[in-house]
Subunit: 82 residues, 2 copies
Amino acid sequence: PDWEVVELDGELQLRRVFTFANFAEALAFANRVGDLAEAEGHHPALLVEWGKVTARWWTHKIGGLHRNDFIMAARTDALAAG
Amino acid sequence: PDWEVVELDGELQLRRVFTFANFAEALAFANRVGDLAEAEGHHPALLVEWGKVTARWWTHKIGGLHRNDFIMAARTDALAAG
């Protein structure tokens, strides 16, 4: 719902900010997303700060967005909701 | 050794990039830094990507760098070396 398409370093990416009560909860979420990434062999950029995680998904190999990035974004949403 | 002083959103920050063999090792390092942050009650920004973590320390309350940020940077180095 709240994913934006942004261009960073010349590559289109999906980006969303997830908010949390503190740093530890933000980092815990990053770990859940990291587990998903390992399971799928596709990795995001995760910026962990106090109370928030900014997630970005894209496919470096094609220099932009693949259908799989949208799937990973949706699965990231599910982790945030779960 | 490799910390730079950068200005982001009008605030001076210490920034260093740490490199790793893969995403999982980068995330594991972020967790070690997160544990340190929790123990000290002072929190960085940690950008986790495949094979690297970009760490930033600063003190938002004063809008820049406090002595403690340099201490946390040195302790982050120690975690990377350990």
